[in-house]
């Protein structure tokens, strides 16, 4: 296998763009999500377009008990891994998520499940003393807003987790990259009002693959989102709490 990469949550548009970008660079891939029919379709397509070996299998972020066996299965099939991209993301209905029964699911998919599988991955990479972990979080995790704060809190917590993981794995030479996309043209955002500077998922995927050749630890995509979020993060709370966002 050629520098195999595991893509978690592989059916989303950003994940598809990222998988294509790695395949274009000659990486073999393992695609994982809950939708096997979709994975089969994407795997066939990536193999035909880029000639790399693409395997796929069932992965449920919320079923944390299954994660150790899942990773062993992937490692066996791919004869090891050179990196992991976590692209699991579940927005749901942000208003419904104010109800904890729904909100718990958002936290389980975006945070708890991510922590579970990435911890497994970290334990694999650490003794190897090489590898990379790319976690896709969100600009929504930089500051809580009434429109999607449960999702934002889960993504913000994931960013914090990745920060800690990066600190832990630095000594063993394993890279941990936090990716925070702004508005991307995906099923999550299609038809939403008030979007601006929307990026294509292919472009975001390409930029995600490119982060490996750069030194940054936390990457906003596209880059100008760093400045937008810098401003948003620095609005004083007494003002911010009055704003409708």
């Amino acid at each position: 296998m050629n520098q195999p990469v595991l893509i978690l949550g592989a059916t989303s548009a950003i994940a598809r763009g990222t998988a294509a970008a790695f395949a274009r660079r000659g990486h073999d891939l393992y695609l994982a999500s809950r939708d096997l029919d979709e994975l089969q379709r994407s795997a066939a397509d990536l193999h035909l377009r880029y000639g790399v070996t693409v395997r796929y299998g069932l992965f449920d972020a919320e079923d944390t008990a299954s994660h150790p066996a899942f990773l062993q299965q992937v490692l066996a099939e791919m004869h090891g891994l050179s990196g992991v991209v976590l692209a699991v993301g579940f927005l749901g209905d942000p208003l419904a998520a104010r109800d904890f029964k729904v909100g718990a699911k958002v936290i389980a998919a975006n945070f708890t499940g991510a922590v579970s599988i990435l911890s497994e991955c970290a334990s694999y990479f650490e003794p190897q003393k090489r590898g990379f972990i790319i976690g896709i979080t969100s600009v929504a995790g930089d500051r809580g807003r009434q429109s999607n704060y449960v999702y934002g809190a889960a993504k913000g917590a994931l960013s914090l987790f990745l920060q800690g993981l990066r600190n832990r794995l630095y000594a063993s030479g394993v890279r941990v990259i936090t990716v925070k996309p702004g508005f991307v043209d995906t099923a999550m955002t299609f038809g939403l009002p008030g979007l601006f500077l929307v990026a294509s998922p292919q472009d975001i995927g390409e930029r995600i693959a490119r982060t490996l050749h750069k030194s940054a630890d936390v990457v906003y995509l596209p880059g100008f989102w760093r400045f937008i979020m810098l401003i948003i993060k620095h609005v004083p709370e007494p003002i911010f709490k009055r704003m409708k966002m």
């Binding site: 059916t11 548009a13 029919d37 379709r41 397509d45 035909l48 377009r49 299609f190 038809g191």
Partner: protein
């Protein structure tokens, strides 16, 4: 699933209509709960075929994966949203090519089926659907089904050329053709008038796998119908005349720097003077090429694809592409009358293309029929254009011809019925598989196609 209400148009940028867009990303989601629905791939039909004013438009651009390529037999199975450009990027290097291709590769596979598109080889290889081995469809009641020339054949022949009105095309299985090299062997011949042009296109000693003629739409009098006939075929290894190994002859064209029109041209940019000057220059330049030459496949099949958004050339008000076919026996007289009417109107067509068609296919609403087809790009400057096009319609009708629905934005329902004699047969199948006329478009309502004829859904 979330939707987006916005104004969209076809490639001709006329008409512009408000539609509710829905964009599934998973194959299983390739459906809609909307009572009125039309599928849109790349929006490359020219008029209103992919529009559904105040109704739902289902975009297939994210359901675009290639699923299986049999490199022994040259059989490709892919989701309908994939473009011909994406397919070519994969198959060409393995020694395969599209059996039929329209003049742009930025169309979806599903769109090629729905419009039953043709290429420069129709007189030999028929239309796109003659090479389709199977369609996976999602029908009005949500059932998923397959059809082909041998399985559910009635559904198949109603769907090919059926403008998306029989159901959602989910997957297409296509038979490819083998190529030895990615170069084209091309030969040009100038014709000083229409009579000579017809002779060139009919001459079996000149004929080739691909043939097409560019016509100077402004030439009048004894020059009426002058132009350049262009013949070509996929060059064989022997024709390249060098000894490079086989694999090195399968390569994509050198990617020329892609240019994109950054703004709408003003309406006056294309006028009889500028187009006349261009046509005279082009006629003498291209017509002077006597010797056969080699060309890359991209430059040969898709010259306009090299200019992104070339439709902006025609200004903000857009343009109408008028393409008709006239059966063999009346073809010369019909084309002469059409060209005369056109040049007398002083409404020059920047692009005028004449091509010979082979026998009519089996698609009930398919456009091609044995004879000659003429395609014209006409900028919309005033309503006089539509009066001219109505006159062209009656000339076409007098000669037993028809207009291509994939290009059309303005044909009348009455003319449509005269031009497409198998419509009643098609309607019988439509009323069985889609009894509530769920699949409908702005085009189908304009032409009173379907059941709720004439009324908006």
């Amino acid at each position: 699933m979330p939707t987006l209400i916005t104004s969209i148009s076809g490639w001709g940028r006329y008409p512009l209509q408000s539609c509710e867009l829905e964009r599934p990303e998973r194959y299983a989601d390739l459906n809609s709960d909307a009572p009125s629905l039309i599928v849109r791939g790349q929006g490359r039909s020219y008029g209103d075929a992919s529009l559904n004013e105040n109704g739902r438009v289902l975009l297939t651009e994210r359901v675009n994966r290639m699923l299986e390529l049999d490199t022994e037999q040259g059989i490709l199975r892919a989701e309908a949203g994939v473009t011909l450009a994406e397919i070519l990027a994969v198959i060409v290097l393995q020694g395969w090519f599209l059996p039929v291709t329209p003049g742009t590769k930025f169309v979806s596979l599903g769109g090629c089926v729905a419009a039953d598109v043709h290429g420069k080889n129709h007189h030999h290889e028929g239309s796109f659907c003659d090479h389709v081995l199977d369609l996976a469809m999602i029908l009005a009641d949500g059932t998923r089904s397959h059809c082909s020339a041998t399985e559910n054949a009635e559904l198949f022949w109603a769907t090919v050329g059926g403008m998306g009105l029989t159901g959602i095309i989910g997957e297409v299985t296509l038979k490819l053709i083998p190529i030895q090299t990615t170069r084209m062997k091309v030969r040009y011949h100038a014709a000083t008038n229409l009579e000579q042009m017809f002779k060139l296109l009919q001459d079996p000693t000149l004929d080739d796998r691909y043939s097409v003629a560019w016509i100077d739409s402004l030439a009048t009098g004894k020059n009426l119908g002058r132009g350049v006939a262009m013949f070509g075929h996929h060059a064989t290894l022997a024709e390249l005349g060098n000894s490079k190994p086989h694999s090195r002859q399968l390569k994509h064209d050198q990617p020329a720097r892609k240019r994109t029109l950054p703004f709408d041209f003003p309406a006056f940019a294309l006028n009889p003077l500028s187009i006349g000057a261009f046509n005279a220059w082009y006629y003498h330049r291209e017509g002077g090429k006597q010797e056969p030459f080699l060309s890359g496949y991209d430059a040969y099949f898709y010259p306009l694809d090299a200019i992104g958004q070339w439709n902006r050339l025609y200004g903000k008000r857009g343009f109408v592409q008028y393409q008709c076919v006239i059966p063999e026996q009346g073809a010369y007289a019909g084309m002469a009358t059409l060209l005369h009417e056109l040049s007398a109107s002083r409404r020059p067509s920047f692009l005028a293309v004449l091509k010979r068609f082979g026998a009519q296919g089996r698609g009930m609403l398919s456009f091609p029929t044995a004879g000659y087809t003429l395609a014209l790009d006409l900028p919309i400057r005033d309503s006089g254009l539509f009066a001219l096009l109505d006159r062209l319609d009656s000339i076409v009708l007098q000669h037993g011809g028809r207009v291509y629905l994939a290009k059309d934005a303005r044909l009348s329902a009455e003319s449509f019925r005269s031009m497409y004699p198998r419509y009643e047969e098609w309607l019988k199948i439509k009323s069985i598989i889609d009894p509530h006329n769920r699949f409908s478009s702005s085009l189908s309502r304009r032409l009173h196609i379907g059941l709720n004829s004439g009324r908006a859904a």
